[in-house]
Structures are given as C-alpha cells and as structure tokens.
C-alpha cells in the first residue's frame, strides 16, 4: 500500500486529536452548560418562593398591631377618642429588630393619637379594608400596614365615617429573613451542582470505558489475527460499529486468502512451462549448434533456472503460510533433516562442482517439518549457487556455541561472501548478490521468515577463515515456552 501525499506530509496521520469530535466533550458541554444556567435559575426561584410566605407573615404581624388599634378607638357621645397609656404605647412599639411607629386617624384625617408624620404617607384612605405598602419614614425605608374601619356609623344626613390605623416598621427583620433564605438557596444550589457534575463525569467515564478497552484490544492484535471481536461488555450503541468491523475483518481475511490462493495457483501453473523451458534449453545445448549460439543458450538456461527457482519459492511460501496456520509443531532432530537432504543435495552439488560436506550432531527442535526442510533447502541453494564451481560448502547441526543450550543449524561456504555492511539488507526480498546468477533474491528472506516462525534467529557471519559466508540459525531452547501461530521476533 503506498502512502498518500497528505499522510506523507503529516506523519501523525489524518486523524488528529484537535480535529476529532469528542463524545466526552459533547456530553459534558450539553450537561455542564445547561447546569450552569439551570441551577442558578432554580435557586433564584426557590429563593423567591421561600421568601414570600416569610414576608407575608411579617406583614400580617404588622397588621395585627393595626387591628389592635381599632379596638382601642372609642366613640363617646359622637366624639372619637383613643387613650393610650405609656405602657401600652411601649408595648405597641416593642420589637427586637425594628423601629415601630403608629398613628390612628379620624375620618376627617386628624390624628387621634400616635406619630402624626405617618399620616402624610400613602394618600387618602380607600375603601379597602387593609393594605400594605413600602414608604420612607424618617429617611429610612419602612413597610406600612394600613387598616381602615367604620368608626362612626351612618346616620340620616351623614355618611359613615372611616377611621384609619397605620403601623410602620423598618426592614431589618425582612432583610434578615431574605439573607437566610438566600444562603440556604445558594448552598443548596452549590451542593446540587457539584453532585450532578461528579455523577455526570463518573457516568460518562464509565460508559466510555468499554469503548477504550475495546480499542486497546484491537490495537494489540497482530495482522494475522483477523477473527471477529467478541466481547460481552460492548455497549449496545457501539455494537453496530463492532459488527461492521467484524464484517470488515472477514472480508479482509477472504481477500487475503484469495490473494494467497492466487499466488499459489499462479506459481503452480508456472511449473510446467518452466520445466519444459529448462529441458528444451538443455537439449538445445546438447545438440550441435553454431558457436555463437552457445553463449545465448547458456544465458537462456540461467534465466529459466532462475525463473524456476522463483516459482518454486513463491509456491513454498504459499505452502508455508498454509502450514503455519493449519498444522501443529512437532519435535525434530536437525541432524536427521540434514541427513535426509543429503541425497538430493549431494547430487546437485556434484553437478555444480561444489564439495558438500556434513558435520552433524544431534540438535532437537520443535517446529514444522516442511518449513525446516524448506529453510535448509534455501540455504543450500544459496550456498551452492553463490559459492560457485570448486567451492566448499558445509552443513553443520548441533548445540550452538557458546552455551550449548540452544540448537543450531549452519551452512557455510568459502565463496565471495557478503560484506558486513550489506548483510542486513541481504535479508530483504529480491536483494540479489550476484546480478548475473540464477538466484531469485527470495532465499534469505524466506529463511528469516521461517526462522522467525520457529522463534529462531538468523545471522550472517564470516565464513571459515574469514572467507565466504556462514549463515547460522539459532533456535530457542526446547524448554522455553513455544509460541505457536505467531511470527515471533523479527530476526
């Protein structure tokens, strides 16, 4: 997959933190902002609702004093009198917090008793039995209760006369009550807001937790594990997403399998024409031909051999993939595998003019037989191919130096070798040492892959006496826990 230009420009990729919408942020925003508006409003409403009755009862207490004044006004022989003793006056004005003033007025408006200045407040009496109002008295704001009653009954030729009693008090009690209610409302509001905020945060965190742990799970998966995600804790809202993801995994698996099957088929189909090509070239070389054709035919032969090798390796890789997932590991002795390979490979080395030797000691490993043979085949193929005519190649199996606890397989040759600076690159696919030869460039990459699958490491070292190349595969000790099915460390 080639990178697109935009992601090449920005290594962090297309999804960056500041550009992404956040569920957490959205939820908090939609909870916090309304909370910030709603809670003070509720507190305000509570304040008003709690304050009103308190003020009302204070008003009615004031009214009580006015009513008491009505009882004290007497009508004697057509004359209104109000006699208030000092004690009574003191009793009327008694209040812990506020200044109280009172006045009683005759129908014509003259003061019967009390603080005359009160008479100037609030206007002429109205037919309303009682009312309350705010005013200013002695430069202080006061609340006034006004009570009027019929003190002179109607007679022929005269209307009824209305007397008025007015009582005022300062607002200290009222302010005190208001403060109390305000404090209560405010503290309730704060507590409520805090509790809601904490609960909200907690609820959001808890709801989002399965999503986080789900994404961690998926992140940890290796590309080989494309089975469906099945977890009981996936929330209903996220389940469709996970379902879609599983569907995608299944499609990827199918596509990948189809791809691999195609490669395997293609390589398989290539076999026959390649064999024929090779055979025909060899036959042509055998037939008498003009000398100028000799070089041409030889080059043709080299090219077909290389193509045949490549097809073989592709097919082996496809087979190896299949084996990796479908068969289980067994125990093998590398010495045995090398011995079995002797038959085929001695013949080939003799043909190539290479002296193939064996130094075999027992070395037990756990793995897939087919893959181990393939790995050895690729190593020998490379050694014989690159070392060339007259070279010496040795296969070695046994305990690995220095500790001798691990099993080891080595193939060394005294050919041209690989310079140390090129060794890491040599493991990459299609890196060919000798451009004119018949190598495909896949050999070492296959070796590393198979080694990795067995939990083994592949190293390129100097050959015997510093000449040539030695490829050493070191396996993990048998008692170490095997890691079946995973590709293991990159070696």
């Amino acid at each position: 997959m080639t990178a697109t230009v935009s992601s090449a420009r920005d290594p962090r990729g297309p999804l960056q933190a500041h550009a992404r919408p956040s569920i957490r942020r959205t939820l908090l925003l939609w909870l916090v902002v309304p909370l910030a508006l709603l809670v003070p409003c509720t507190a305000f409403v509570f304040y008003r609702l709690a304050l009103a009755p308190a003020l009302d009862s204070l008003d009615h207490a004031l009214d009580g004093t006015a009513l008491a004044l009505e009882r004290l006004v007497r009508l004697d022989d057509g004359a209104l009198t109000l006699v208030v003793s000092r004690e009574l006056d003191s009793a009327l004005r008694a209040d812990r917090f506020d200044e109280v003033h009172w006045v009683a007025l005759a129908p014509a408006g003259q003061v019967l008793a009390g603080d005359g200045a009160l008479a100037t407040l609030g206007g002429p009496p109205s037919p309303v039995d009682w009312r309350f109002f705010d005013a200013t008295y002695n430069d202080k704001p006061v609340r006034v209760a006004l009570h009027s009653w019929t003190c002179v009954p109607a007679s022929p030729g005269h209307d009824a006369g209305l007397c008025e009693a007015r009582v005022s008090e300062t607002l200290n009690k009222r302010h005190g009550v208001a403060q109390q209610v305000l404090a209560a409302a405010t503290s309730a509001m704060v507590v409520e807001a805090l509790v809601l905020a904490v609960l909200g945060w907690f609820a959001i965190a808890r709801s989002l937790k399965p999503v986080e742990s789900l994404s961690k799970d998926i992140e940890l998966r290796s590309p080989e594990h494309l089975g469906p995600v099945i977890r009981p804790d996936i929330p209903r809202e996220v389940a469709p997403l996970v379902s879609a993801l599983n569907g995608l995994f299944a499609r990827v698996v199918t596509a990948s399998a189809a791809e691999k099957a195609f490669i395997a088929d293609a390589a398989h189909q290539l076999r026959t024409p390649l064999t024929v090509l090779r055979t025909e070239t060899e036959l042509a070389l055998l037939e008498s031909h003009p000398p100028q054709l000799e070089e041409l035919l030889r080059r043709l032969h080299i090219a077909t051999t290389r193509a045949a090798r490549l097809a073989n390796q592709l097919l082996s890789q496809a087979r190896a993939e299949h084996d990796r997932h479908n068969s289980s590991m067994e125990r093998f002795d590398l010495k045995q595998i090398a011995s079995e390979a002797a038959e085929e490979w001695v013949a080939r080395s003799v043909d190539a003019g290479v002296d193939l030797g064996f130094e075999l000691e027992s070395a037990r490993v756990e793995g897939h037989g087919f893959l181990l043979r393939e790995m050895l085949a690729n190593l020998l193929d490379n050694a014989i191919n690159y070392a060339g005519n007259g070279a010496r190649v040795t296969i070695r199996t046994g305990p690995a130096p220095p500790g001798r606890t691990c099993a080891m397989l080595e193939v060394e040759d005294n050919g041209p070798g690989i310079p140390p600076e090129d060794r890491e690159r040599a493991f990459e696919r299609f890196q060919r040492g000798n451009a004119g030869g018949t190598g495909s460039g896949l050999g070492l990459s296959i070796v590393r892959d198979i080694a990795g699958h067995h939990g083994a490491t592949a190293e390129l070292l100097d050959g015997p006496g510093g000449v040539g190349l030695k490829v050493r595969i070191t396996f993990a000790p048998l008692d170490a826990p095997a890691r079946p099915g995973k590709s293991g460390a990159r070696s």
């Binding site: 395997a264 398989h268 076999r271 026959t272 024409p273 390649l274 064999t275 024929v276 090779r278 055979t279 025909e280 060899e282 036959l283 070389l285 055998l286 051999t305 045949a308 097809a311 073989n312 097919l315 082996s316 496809a318 087979r319 011995s339 002797a342 038959e343 085929e344 001695v346 013949a347 080939r348 003799v350 043909d351 002296d355 193939l356 030797g357 064996f358 130094e359 075999l360 087919f370 043979r373 040795t394």
Partner: protein
C-alpha cells in the same frame, strides 16, 4: 548439465533400455521423452494411468517414470496397481515441490525414487540411469558399473577381462556400494551392512578399506567420491 552417455547401459549387447513415461502434460511429456532418448534409450509415452498396469505386464520395460498428478487415476493408484500384480519394475515418481509428503507416500507405495518438478535434465537422467542399473543388477547375480563386474555367485570381480583381487571386507563394501549405485551411502550404513558377517568395524577401518578400493577401481574408470562427514558415492569418473 546433461551429457552424452559415457558407457552403454546394456553391456552385453542386449536390447536397449526401454522406459515407460506416464505424464499428462503434452509439452512436458514431449521434452522429457526427447531428453531420455538423447541417452539412446527407447521411450514410450502415455497420458493416463489406467493402461499402465497392462502395458507393464505385456512389454518388458526397464523403468517406469510416473507423474503423481494425472487425469483419471493418479500416480499413486497407478503404482499400487502395478505393484499389486507382483511387478518389481523400478519406478521413478515425479512430484510437485510443495507436496514433499507425497514423496514419503510414494516410497511407501512402492516407488524406488522421486524427482521434484521442475527438475534439471541431468538429475532426471542420472536417477533414471541409476534405477535401470539397479534393476539389471537385481535380476542376476552380477553387479556391474563401467568396466567393473562382480560375479556374486562365483565371488569374483573383473575389470574388463582382468580379475580384480579384493579382500573380504573390501568385497563386502564394494558389493554394498554397487548394489546401491547412484545413491549416497552413509558410513553408518556401510558399518551396519557389513558388521553382520564380519563383526563390528570402526569408522577408521572403513576409511582405510575405501581408500584401498579407490585405487583398485581407478583402472575401471570408477571413482569413490567422499562426502565429507557423511559417506561415499560410487560413480563413473
């Protein structure tokens, strides 16, 4: 690379070697047949496995080259039928590289050797030749390679017309190697094979015997190649 044959495979002037090739791909069949014919052998080709058992019974073939993947009955079934009628004709099976387990199955079903496709001509020819020789040797009490002849009944060996003197162990070792012409012989196998009659033999002793044999066989145009750390291969020089 493939070469012209160095010595005739039919040393006593009997009929040339006849091979039955069973391969369903026409291109492959054609080029393989021509390759085998370049060695002076007679090759009959067939695409299917069904007529093989009958053909083998009717005509004297020296070698059967059998592809595993055939239309109709496959190579294994064909082989089974051939063996079922008591034929011990040498069989070389052609198998696909990625089905290496077929090789085991083939050998268990009665094949004598196998070759992996795509194969080099030289390998095909070498293995075919080895199998044919073994078959000829099997028949009689005479083993031969190049100018060397071992008469097992008379217990005498000849290079051309000249008798070759061999010590007891040398004879055993040479007989063992000759009976497995074309195949690599591991030192352990030699020891195991000859220790039955002569008591146990050491590695070093084997080496000494082999080196003596080597010089004795030189005039016959044969050499014993040492496979370092493994064993030996008897071949024509």
């Amino acid at each position: 690379m493939i070469h012209r044959p160095k010595s005739p495979i039919a040393p006593f002037g009997v009929q040339p070697v006849r091979i039955l090739l069973v391969e369903d791909d026409p291109l492959l069949s054609d080029s393989t047949a021509r390759a085998l014919r370049s060695q002076g052998w007679v090759v009959d080709c067939t695409e299917r496995g069904e007529p093989v058992a009958v053909s083998v019974r009717q005509d004297p073939y020296d070698l059967l080259i059998l592809d595993v993947g055939l239309a109709g009955i496959d190579g294994f079934e064909t082989l089974r039928r051939v063996r079922a009628q008591g034929s011990d004709l040498p069989v070389l099976m052609l198998t696909a590289r990625d089905a290496i387990e077929d090789r085991v199955r083939g050998l268990e079903s009665g094949a004598d050797d196998y070759l992996v496709k795509p194969f080099a001509l030289s390998e095909l020819v070498a293995r075919s030749r080895a199998l044919v020789r073994r078959n000829q040797a099997r028949g009689g009490s005479v083993l031969s390679l190049g100018n060397l002849r071992m008469d097992l009944e008379a217990r005498r060996a000849y290079i051309g017309d000249q008798e070759l003197a061999l010590a007891g162990r040398e004879w055993s070792i040479l007989q063992f190697m000759l009976s497995r012409t074309g195949k690599i012989v591991a030192k352990e196998q030699i020891i195991a094979a000859i220790s039955n009659w002569d008591g146990t033999t050491s590695d070093n002793a084997i080496e000494v015997h082999v080196s003596r044999l080597r010089s004795k066989l030189e005039p016959a145009g044969l050499k014993i190649r040492t496979i370092r750390g493994f064993g030996y291969l008897l071949e024509e020089a």
